[in-house]
Each structure stands twice: as C-alpha cells, then as structure tokens.
C-alpha cells in the first residue's frame, strides 16, 4: 500500500535483469552469501600450503578446498565476484530510488488512496475552505512540516511532509559501502608492509617503499615492567628520521603510537636483544677476575694457560627433550652459554672440553679444572627494536567510507520521512476535513505525533 503513495507512477517498463539487479531481494541474498563465505573462512584455516589441507581433510576434500580457492577465501574469485555483484546491486538500488523519487508528485495523489491509510481522522467545521487552509498551514509550519496545496472546485488537497533528509540516509550508506570496498581494493593492490629490525645506535635505510630515500635511526630502546614482576608494561623506541645524514625529526614510538613520515608509518611491533658477548668470572688460586669475551672469538685467559671460545648464549635456559637447549624467553632470566676450553697450543680434535655453564648455578654448571674455575656472570647485549613498516594508500578512503557509513546509518535510523495529507471538502452547510498520514518507519512514535497534530488542528478549526 505504501508504494502507491511514494512511487505510484513509477515506470512500468519491465526489464527482468534490471529489476533483478536493483532488487532488495538480491541485496539480501548477497548479504547472506557474503556472510556464509566469511564464515567458511573462519572454519577452514587460511593461507596454508597445499599439503596441509590434503593431510588435514584427506586428499579429495583438501584438493577441492584448495582448487576452489576456499583456502584463500578472502581473495578468491567467489568472494570478489560476490563483492562485485554487491557493488552493482548497491548502485542499481540507488539509481532505482532516484528514478522513482523524481516521478513523485504528492499533489496528484489519488484521493481514494487517503481512505486506505491506517492513520486518518475526519473533522468537521463551519468555516470556509480558505480559512481552514490557513489555520492548518499555521499548525503545520509550527510543527516544522513542509506543505503544498491545490484547489480543485469545492475540494482542497493539502500535502505536507517532514524529515525528508531521511531519504538520503540509504544513499549515504550505499555510497559509503562502495567507498569501503574500493578502499579494500586499494589496500590490496597498492599497500606494502614489511618488518624492520634496528639495533640500538644503528641506522636503517628506507628506500624500497618510498620514492625519496631516508634513514631511520634507533637512538634508544626502553622497556618498562609492572612493579615486582617481569610482565612487560610498555616498550618504547626513540627514533630519528635522517635525510642526507641530517636529523629531520625525533619521536618516541610505542604500541598504539606510531610514527608517520612521507606516507610511511612505523609501528612498534616487537623487540629483542642481540647477545654479543658474555662476562666470565675466572677464579684461580683465590684470585678472581672478570673478563668480557665476545661470542665466536677465541680468548686466551691471562696466566691460566687455557683458551676459551664461547659459541652460544641463551638468555633464559630451557632444556627440552628432543630439541636440546633453547630459550624460554628473550628476557635474561636464566642466562647460560656454551664454552669450549683447551690448553694453549693444543687445539686438536678430542683434546678440548666443551660444556654449558649457567649464571644461576655456578656450583654445578661451571668449568672446573684443578684450581681453575670459569663461570658465567651475565650476557652482554644490544637491544634491537622490530618495527612494522606500512604504506597503505587505502586507509584514508577506508576512514572516509566508515565516517559516511556511520552518518548514513544514523540518518536512516533516527530521521524518518512522514507525510500528512488534508482533504477539505465543502459539503452544504459544513466543511469536512479528512486528515490522513503515512510513514514507513517509526509507526508507533508517529502515531503519537499524529494524534497531537489532529488535536491541535481540532482546536483551531472550531466546531
């Protein structure tokens, strides 16, 4: 019944494919199909190698999952095809709405149609048509309705409406979704991302992402723990941007606080330590010395007649069956190193002694030979930061689309278009006034508004 009022004179030309492409039914089908496709992507693990799927699901199922692109579903022809039809549908629906709105003329409305409306009230008065019209116009303008009228012999039709901006809501939503889809295409097509590991005090060249080269230097890396624990509270990298060896700017970044320069953004991703050396405690004849020994370099211990080579270091010792010795974390909670010791000048296969020594267990895990004891004090490290390096020209379009989407949904939800008609007829001694109204949304709230409107009109027209 509503269609008649809003778009009764819409084109009668029936072109099946056009009608179908512009139909909200297609929109619903596509929305559901997109939902199902997305859901498959959360149940079938994505972006794994072919063998993973044949192993997990059996050859035949795994083969077809892979072949049909369900293992890279968000980049599959299926998904892209759906998005394409969705976009066409969005455009077609909007075009159809525009066409049907253009042809609308509320004053040519069928008078019988008013009697079919749910909200209506018949009033009577002894006043003349034009006087009544003026009174009703006053009320309508007080309630911020826009109105028109047309006299046709002894009848007068008033047509008024309010909240017309609501009709832009759906356009805005549809447009914003197109912008978001385009943003996604831009991101997939033109964005690039990588990781950058920079040691404290060193410089990294940024050239592959940007037309202009510049450098990033890690001036300082800081880590903060929650009190009395080793739980990381925060970590920060102080970065300097250099151009032609000159400092352009310095900024401290952390998680959630990136640095942007020339379209490239640097995100704090993770961190670690490069273990360069160890401090060894060497005890001989009641005398104790501490030496700094670099990893992978032979070191002759003065006065002891032995040479030591440190070939591995782990900050947080973990002995796992089958895997041997690894580290539990990057934190120096239980440092240990592997050393090879031999007598000076006797570097021969089988004559050296190799073992793990651990700083926390000097009693058990140290090198002991006669009165010579070599134990580990600590590791010596340089911190490094790991940065996510991203260039994404689609992001801006995404924010634009998201903003429009929110405004569009808000408009569609909270502003609603409603029409109030008045049909004034001279009928001998008295004049009859039929007030009728319609709306698509918010019928309950509108019913209240309508009742108030009728009461106000009743008051001014008299008996």
């Amino acid at each position: 019944m509503f269609k008649q009022g809003f778009s009764g004179q819409a084109s009668r030309k029936k072109n099946f494919s056009w009608q179908f492409l512009a139909s909200p039914k297609l929109a619903i089908i596509i929305l559901i199909l997109l939902g199902i496709t997305c859901a498959i992507g959360t149940f079938v693990p994505q972006d794994k190698v072919f063998h993973y799927y044949t192993h997990r699901y059996g050859f035949r199922i795994g083969f077809w999952l892979f072949k049909l692109g369900l293992t890279k579903i968000y980049h599959s022809y299926l998904f892209i095809g759906l998005l394409l039809i969705f976009s066409i549908n969005l455009i077609a629906c909007s075009v159809r709405r525009i066409i049907s709105f253009k042809k609308e003329d509320s004053l040519t409305i069928d008078k019988e149609y008013l009697n079919t409306l749910e909200l209506k009230e018949m009033l009577f008065s002894v006043k003349a048509i034009n006087e009544l019209k003026e009174k009703i116009f006053q009320i309508l303008s007080k309630k911020r309705f826009k109105f028109l009228s047309r006299q046709d012999g002894s009848t007068m039709l008033i047509s008024s409406h309010k909240g017309k901006s609501a009709i832009f809501g759906p356009y805005l939503v549809h447009l914003s979704l197109l912008v978001i889809i385009l943003a996604g295409v831009f991101t997939i097509r033109f964005s690039s991302r990588g990781e950058l590991k920079i040691l404290e005090g060193t410089v990294a060249e940024i050239s592959h992402l940007s037309a202009q080269t510049f450098q990033i230097r890690l001036d300082k890396f800081d880590i903060e723990y929650y009190p009395q624990t080793r739980n990381v509270k925060d970590y920060k990298s102080t970065l300097s941007v250099l151009e032609n060896a000159k400092k352009v700017l310095t900024k401290t970044i952390e998680v959630n606080k990136p640095l942007s320069y020339k379209g490239i953004t640097f995100y704090q991703s993770s961190y670690g330590y490069q273990w360069d050396a160890v401090m060894l405690i060497v005890k001989q004849k009641q005398k104790s010395n501490v030496y700094k020994v670099k990893l992978g370099q032979e070191f002759v211990i003065p006065g002891a007649g032995v040479t030591v080579l440190v070939d591995r270091f782990v900050p947080d010792l973990l002995v796992e069956k089958g895997k041997g010795i690894t580290t539990k974390s990057e934190e120096p909670l239980n440092p240990a190193c592997h050393i090879i010791v031999y007598q000076n000048g006797e570097k021969e296969e089988g004559k050296e002694k190799s073992l793990w020594i651990a700083a926390k267990f000097p009693q058990h895990a140290s090198y002991k030979q006669g009165d010579l004891v070599i134990s580990l004090m600590q590791g010596v490290s340089t911190a490094y930061t790991v940065l996510g390096v991203v260039k994404d020209p689609g992001a801006l379009a995404f924010w634009l689309g998201s903003g429009l989407l929110l405004v569009g949904i808000f408009t569609s939800l909270f502003i609603y278009h409603r029409r109030v008609y008045g049909l004034i007829k001279e009928d001998g001694e008295r004049t009859s006034i039929l007030i009728a109204a319609e709306t698509k949304r918010n019928k309950m709230a509108f019913k209240k508004e309508f009742t108030q409107l009728v009461a106000a009109i009743k008051e001014v027209i008299g008996r």
Binding site: S23, V255, N256, V390, K440, M444
Partner: protein, 258 residues
Amino acid sequence: MNTIINLATLLCYLLSSILYIIMNSKSKKKLFGKLATYTAIIGWLLHTVVLVFRTIEAKHPPFANIYEALIFFSWAIVLCYLVFEYRYKLKTPGAFVLPIALLTLASARLLPSGYKVAKPLLPALQSNWLIFHVVSAFLAYACFTISFATAIIYLIRNREIFDEISYKAAGIGFLLLTLGIVTGAFWGHIAWGRYWGWDPKETWSLITWLIYAAYLHARFTAGFSRRKAAYVSIAGFLAMLFTFIGVTWLMPGLHAYK
C-alpha cells in the same frame, strides 16, 4: 564486601525475573510490574558498583577477560532493557530479558577461579580505544539481545508492538555494532597499521553485521512478513552469540581473552 554486593546483584535480578514472570501471568499486573522494575533498577545500581570496584581492583576498564566481559555484558543488557521499558512503557519483555541477564551474570560467577584473576593489560590493550571499541560493541550486543527477546515474544503473541521494539533495538544495535567495528578498525590501524585483518572476531562481527543488514532490509524494502523478519533477527542474535562466546572459546586470534 565485594562478594556481598555481587550476591545482592544476583538476588535482585533473580527477584526481578520472578516478578516480571508473575506480572505476565497473574492479575495485579500494575503492582508486580512496578516491583519488578524497581528491583531491576536496584540490581543494576549494585551491578554498577561491582564494575567500579572491579575497575579499581584491576586498574583497568572492566572488560579485559571473559569473566569481566560477561559481567559487563549482563550490565549492558539490563541498562538497555530499562531504557527500552521506559521508552515504550511495556514490561512484558522483562520476563525474558532479566533471566538472560541473570544467567549471564551467574555464568560469570560460576567460572573457575583462574578466569577471575585481574591481570595487568598487555601493551597493545593500553589505549583509550579499548573503551570506545568495547563499550560500543557490548551495547550493540545488549540491543541485539533485546531485539531477540522481543522477536521471540512477537512470534508467540503476535502483537505488532513487539515487532516494532525488535526492529528499533536491532537498528540501534546495528549502528552501535558499526561503531564498534569502525573503532576497532581504527585501533588496529594505529596499533599494527592495518584496519582489517580477517581475525575471527572481526570476521564474525562482520557476519553479524551482514545478517542485521539483511534484517533491516527485509521488512521495508524487500517486503518480508513480520514473522519471517523475526526469524532473521533471531539468526542475527545467534551470530552475535557466536561472535561473543564461540569465537572466544573456539578460534585463536587477537581477540582471544587471555
């Protein structure tokens, strides 16, 4: 003290649920209805105190693990329900919604104690975006719960007003869910440099969004009957439940509660 307020909240919701149910089936509707609403309001105020205490204890907003999330969800449900009851002057849905809030809160209390420990926040979560993102998402969840309850009542009683409330709640929920997704995207953008990553939670919130988008189009533009549309709303609620609970338990990802 904390435990007493917790139990008092549960008790209020239990009492309120019973009163709403009695109101729906017996005479003296006015009296029982009033009592039901008052106990729900008292329960909700106590619930707010519980959340404030938790925030002070944990030193972060009270929705960082599944225990806190369930408590917060229950709080949001009662808040949204009371707003809708006030707006539409209709108490019938209370008999459905209050028991849901009660069950949610009780299930939080029944979690093994390991889940209840307040742990410090990881660096990525220390952001004001956590508040915007989570609050809008949970208010959306709460609105969808109201929409679900009223859709069911509509299917049973066949009165137009319930369909109207269901539609309105779904609409507001849809706006809030969009806000939740967009703020999440923005947060992802400043934390990792990507606004979308097909994380299971992201994907399932998109699925929920798609179903509610279908629902909002079903009635007016596609001309579905009210009954048919009500079923779509129920499907949307199930997708939302999976987004909230299912993904948390079944699928690893950025949003897995630690």
